[in-house]
Amino acid sequence: MKKQGIACYLNILAAILGIAGLILTVRSSTMSTDNALTNLSTLILAGVVGIVLVCVAIIVPNRLGNYDPISAISVLAAIALYAYLFGSCVSQRVMLIAGLFSFNAGNTVGWSIFYTCIGAWVCLLVGILFLVVGSFLKSVKEPMAA
């Protein structure tokens, strides 16, 4: 293993946040059968693939060096998948949230789902942010030129 650069650490954090985001997304879907996400299995698949791709982006630069195309593609795809997970969950929660802030403020289960979703979304968005920032930076430290 080479000495790791900042991007590697950011990607590791992004992977962890992705895992947390995915777990919270699943949790939000299972808190109430009436508010289950309709495409949960697809979302889980997207989340898992996204996390795997981030892992690829962590590992591959050790072999291929900084800014290699495989990790670049992995990061791009992971960003898209994290965003899909985030967006799909948001679009299915819009009416729930609209209700909570208007006619259905007493929905305690709904508020729990809402807070869980907020947690998931924060994890995913921050994870994406780390992936983006990491894309600009080196994953491995290169030896100083002689």
């Binding site: 109430s32 059968t33 009436d34 508010n35 289950a36 996400l37 309709t38 900084n66 800014y67 195309p69 670049a72 990061v75 791009l76 960003i79 898209a80 965003a83 899909y84 985030f86 967006g87 948001v90 679009s91 299915q92 819009v94 009416m95 729930l96 609209a98 209700g99 802030f101 208007s102 006619f103 259905n104 403020a105 007493g106 929905n107 305690t108 289960v109 709904g110 994406i128 992936l131 983006v132 920032v133 894309s135 600009f136 930076l137 080196k138 290169e142």
Partner: protein, 1082 residues
């Protein structure tokens, strides 16, 4: 630049833009899925409804606004529309405010009076409810109405704060439109107190639309806090001491009730209850006494406030109830205070000394079965309702004044242990009317005096339709009203009745409102004979045990005997007249009676048979339809209902620990009320025929015209399921009949909740453009429902409906979720501001007039919440248990009056409301949405309802089959209608957990002939309701939908496009940077 750095840069930019691209697409997806709602709030139009105006099928010729609100060229005149709204809002409150006390002619005040306003709500006014019936937009404040002559809309925009800590928000962003002149009261107001309350507003924050609260604090500053702002404030009283006006408020709202004992600590609530006055409020009144010899209290509420202390206080000269008056209603208040208008309202509810003394209060709030966890398997649904909530309505028919007046009658008569202290709050030794009641239902004072006398004998018109057996039984009372006072005024003419009661027999109220009218403006000395037509069905009683002889039980009966009718200033006055006519002991009475204002009619079987009303006006045999409403139906003997036979022995106990043991009861509560069939022969049910008929051709076609069958046969089964499933704000499109998806419904009954420049029908000739200076005007401006009820003026109620209909033409809305039409079961219901009254006749007439008036302009008014929404606490699925007599005589009668609309029937036309929204609540053990007895037997068969019967939002989506079977015509699936999106029967998450254990699909009812027929019926009723609405203004053979580019759509398109281009470019540069490297290596 170093090559690696360049690579990193391009890779980073590609990642960044990948993110912005993804975000844009996500955001776009969310926006598109909710485009209808987004458009409403942003004033944009994602799709336009396009029809070509042709000679054969001209547009906008079926319903048009009146000329007064149009310019000469037929375009809309926003200034005139607002002017008309201000005028109507003013008149509504001027007629609906109720003068409760006026000692020494304290009111009116003369113009030029120097007046001090006290109470922080005199400065920060309460105008509407926090949710539901808000007062939206710019308003005229009390201070302005009393002292100024021109609006300052730019600086008076109503704010709203929701319940449960929701953030406050302005109801419109700003006002840059016209300002309007008005005639104020001409008072000079004490500026010192205005300044003080302005400063105290930083601590005691109030909004124009506020909620009730389970732990209530009215937010009234103390006298010490006033002094802390300006120690010398009392010095100003000398100059502004002509009168002191104190404002006291109790708001109402959706979602939240007041609760017994639910008061914030340390405020010194007089009775420890939220509707009693706090010490600071009482101190404000004491301050008023220091300020002036004339102390006037303005009371704002939608329920009885406990003001017995003020009534009895000789230093409080006048009390004027003004409700929640909407954006312009303070002008009406000013009219009364300065004497421009003599008050003529009557109380919408009885005002009791202690609200807790109502028998209904023994069973309200949050109660749950003791074994919910063990027995209730049905979930709380997508809205997260709490399973297992219930309330036992053990008071029976004795709601509001029916309880207090009937017990009073029996106390005077010495019947039924009525004087026993059980249930008394004003005494420990006896129940006494004067102790328990402050002001009676229907009561109200005027600046003048009126006499009432029956002019001749009433005429009775009794007949039975030979073909159907439907009865028609009316009595018309001609009442000569004379203004014997010194100023001009109007007055309600309220006709009450009393049916003969036999101890142990069917329960009967000693007095009940039967109908009302209002005089014209009578000058001093003038008389008017007012005819009031009474439907005698409303004095019949529902006997649940009556054997109909055909295997059914229960129907309306009219016991032979002496019936009394009277005209009076409210229920108590009317009852006193009857008691005088009956020769009861005047020394035991509260108040005096005049036998000449009562009329006795002995009804024999020959005149009106006992079972005349066992057949409805549609000719349908009436029998018990809601047995499951009664707890005792399942678990006999566990509930005792209040009876006149023994007031003391049957006064309701609190049933807060009921246990479910009956299997049928548990089964019903778990939603298993319909068995889906899978093997029926449905080959006779026609779907997908090509009969060449289009929806636009159905305008004016009678509901039972065979042409409807041809149209309905054109629908595919899937299209019909779509129309039933995805209702609410929009009409789902159906290609086979030429309908396109259309946003059509909005909320509220005090105006239409859509900004003027956000019309859903922007092609209308009168549509207000976005550039119109008044385009930001919001039409939801009128007072809360109790004010409307208190006018006791059917013509004004009709006019309010008409004006809302006009608003609907300007806003492109053809169905209105309103007005609210449930009964004020008790004063603590947070929703009372949206419902008219505790009396079903007053409520029913108000709603009927409103709805028929609205239909003049093609607006279908859909009253809510049908039915039994007696509290907001656990409103989602709460089970109110009651007798069927109570259900019919108290809860349903208001709807019956509105839906039957007998007043407007003609030989050729069966008038009625054409829409409704069901309740979140159950009736007993069964959801209202799924109750066949309620939705089909009573609503459709007995009352002849034809129209759009939508659920409340997302309600009972798991009971899809039972809801369809019941007669409900569609679900409200706001935001899930497939509007601009791709929602299908299979993909909507709302319908994936049906009680049958499957998800909804287009094949679900392939094998259920009953449901297919019910579906046809539901769709027929929906489309018929659309066909009588102003939607038909814009429909013809060329109707289609065209997409439009809105700014928000353009923004996300642009963001996505730019992101995509930059991402691809960055990726390319990233790849090229490898090429450069290779070159360098060569």
């Amino acid at each position: 630049m170093h090559k690696n750095t360049r690579k990193g840069l391009w890779r980073g930019v590609a990642s960044l833009t990948c993110f912005t691209l993804s975000l844009s697409l996500i955001l776009g997806n969310v926006l598109e899925a909710n485009a209808g709602t987004i458009d409403t709030y942003l004033g944009t139009a994602s799709e336009v409804f396009v029809s070509d105006n042709t000679e054969e099928n001209p547009l906008y010729n079926k319903f048009t606004p009146p000329a007064e609100v149009l310019n000469a060229d037929g375009s809309g005149n926003s200034n005139a529309l607002i002017e008309a709204a201000i005028d109507l809002g003013r008149r509504e409150v001027a007629e609906g405010s109720v003068l409760l006390k006026n000692e020494n002619n304290a009111l009116p005040l003369s113009s030029g009076s120097n007046v001090t306003l006290l109470g922080i709500r005199s400065h920060s006014n309460l105008l509407g409810s926090s949710f539901g019936v808000k007062a939206q937009g710019a308003y005229i404040s009390l201070e302005q109405a009393l002292s100024q002559n021109k609006t300052d809309f730019a600086n008076t925009i109503a704010w709203s704060v929701g319940s449960r800590g929701a953030a406050p928000s302005a109801t419109i962003s700003s006002w840059t439109g016209d300002e309007f002149d008005f005639e104020g009261a001409g008072f000079n107001l004490n500026p010192t107190m205005i300044d003080i309350y302005e400063k105290l507003g930083d601590t005691y924050i109030h909004y124009e639309n506020e909620p009730a609260a389970e732990v209530y604090d009215p937010g009234e500053p103390s006298v010490d806090e006033i002094a802390a702002v300006d120690p010398a404030y009392k010095d100003s009283f000398v100059q502004y001491g002509d009168a002191a006006i104190v404002v006291i408020t109790r708001p109402s709202c959706e979602q939240v009730d007041y609760l017994p004992g639910g008061v914030a600590e340390g405020l010194g609530f007089e009775h420890g209850e939220p509707l009693s006055l706090t010490q600071n409020e009482l101190d404000a009144i004491e301050l008023a006494k220091e300020c002036s010899d004339k102390v006037i209290v303005l009371l704002q509420s939608s329920s009885s406030v406990e003001i017995g202390t003020l009534k009895d206080d000789p230093d409080v000269d006048a009390i004027l109830w003004i409700g929640a008056p909407g954006c312009y209603g303070m002008l009406g208040v000013a009219d009364i205070l300065c004497g421009r208008t003599s008050p003529s309202g009557g109380l919408f509810d009885i005002f009791t000394t202690y609200n807790m003394s109502a028998p209904a209060m023994q069973n309200m709030g949050k109660m749950y079965y003791t074994n919910t966890d063990e027995e209730i398997t049905r979930t709380g649904g997508v809205l997260g309702f709490t399973p297992g909530a219930y309330t036992i309505e053990a008071e029976g028919i004795y709601v509001g004044y029916r309880y207090y007046e009937t017990r009073y009658y029996d106390a005077v008569a010495g019947n039924g242990n009525a004087s026993d202290p059980t249930g008394a709050y004003g005494s420990t030794t006896e129940w006494n009317y004067d102790n328990e009641v402050t002001y009676g239902f229907g009561y109200g004072l005027s600046y003048t005096d009126f006499t009432f006398e029956f002019e001749g004998e009433p005429t009775f018109d009794i007949s039975v339709d030979a073909e159907t057996g439907a009865p028609s039984a009316f009595a018309t009372f001609n009442v000569k009203v004379t203004n014997v006072g010194d100023v001009a005024g109007k007055t309600p003419v309220q006709i009450y009745g009393q049916a003969p009661y036999t101890p142990g027999g069917v329960e009967k109220s000693a007095i009940q409102l039967l109908n009302f009218e209002k005089t014209d403006l009578l000058q001093p000395g003038d008389s008017e004979t007012v005819s009031v037509k009474v439907d005698l069905q409303y004095i019949a009683s529902y006997d649940e045990t009556y054997d109909n002889g055909d295997g059914t039980t229960g129907t309306y009966i009219m016991d032979p005997g002496d019936y009394y009718f009277s005209v009076g200033n409210g229920a108590h006055d009317a009852l006193n007249h009857i008691m005088a006519a009956q020769g009861m002991d005047a020394t035991k009475m509260s108040g005096t009676g005049n036998a000449n204002q009562a009329y006795k009619k002995t009804i024999t079987e020959d005149f009106i048979s006992k079972t005349l009303f066992s057949v409805s006006k549609t000719g349908y045999q009436i029998s018990n339809q809601l047995p499951y409403a009664d707890w005792n139906y399942y678990q006999p003997g566990e509930v005792t209902y209040l009876t006149r036979t023994d007031w003391a022995g049957t006064f309701p106990q609190t049933y807060d620990a009921m246990t479910l043991t009956n299997e049928e009861l548990i089964n019903n509560l778990n939603g298993h009320t319909y068995a889906l069939q899978t093997g029926d022969d449905t080959s006779d049910i026609v779907w997908g025929e090509d009969n060449g008929i289009q929806f636009y051709e159905m305008y004016g076609v009678d509901y039972d015209d065979p042409k409807w069958d041809d149209l309905l046969d054109q629908l595919t089964l899937e299209e019909a399921m779509y129309i039933f499933t995805f209702g609410g704000p929009s009409i789902p499109g159906a290609d086979s009949i030429g309908t396109v998806e259309t946003y059509m419904t909005e909320n509220a009954g005090n105006g239409i909740a859509v900004n003027l420049n956000a019309s859903k029908d922007p092609n209308a000739p009168w549509a207000i453009s976005s550039s119109d200076p008044n385009g930001n005007w919001h039409p939801e401006v009128f007072a809360n429902a109790p004010i409307c009820a208190s006018t006791f003026n059917p013509e004004l109620m009709y006019e309010l409906g008409q004006f809302t209909g006009v608003e609907s033409l300007f806003t492109g809305i053809n169905i209105l979720w309103g007005p609210g039409l449930n009964t004020h079961r008790h004063a603590y219901n947070g929703r009372n501001g949206e419902y008219y009254s505790e009396d079903p006749v007053l409520s029913g007439v108000a709603a009927m007039e409103f709805a028929i008036g609205a239909l003049d302009y093609g607006l279908v008014a859909a009253p809510k919440h049908f039915a039994f929404n007696d509290q907001e606490s656990e409103r989602g699925g709460v089970s109110p248990y009651m007798t069927e007599q109570r259900a019919r005589e108290v809860e349903l009668r208001a709807y019956q009056i509105a839906f039957e609309a007998t007043k407007y029937d003609t030989a050729d036309y069966d008038a009625g409301m054409r829409g409704l929204m069901t309740s979140f609540s159950k009736i007993g053990s069964i959801e209202c949405t799924a109750s066949e007895g309620l939705m089909t037997e009573i609503l459709a068969n007995e009352w002849g309802f034809i129209g759009y019967a939508v659920t409340d939002i997302y309600d009972d989506v798991d009971l899809w089959t039972a809801v369809l079977n019941s007669g409900t015509t569609c679900f409200d699936t706001r935001g899930q209608s497939g509007f601009y999106g791709t929602t299908t029967l299979e993909s909507s998450y709302l319908f994936q957990n049906l009680i049958e254990g499957v998800g909804l699909s287009k094949n679900l009812i392939d094998g259920d002939a009953n449901l297919q027929l019910k579906l046809k019926d539901a769709v027929h009723k929906n489309i018929y309701a659309w066909s009588v609405s102003n939607l038909m203004n814009r429909y013809n053979a060329t109707t289609r939908v065209e997409s439009q580019m809105t700014w928000w759509r353009a923004a996300y398109y642009a963001a996505a496009g730019v992101s995509a281009v930059v991402m691809v470019g960055s990726a390319a540069m990233y790849v090229l940077s490898f090429k450069d490297k290779k070159k360098e290596e060569i």
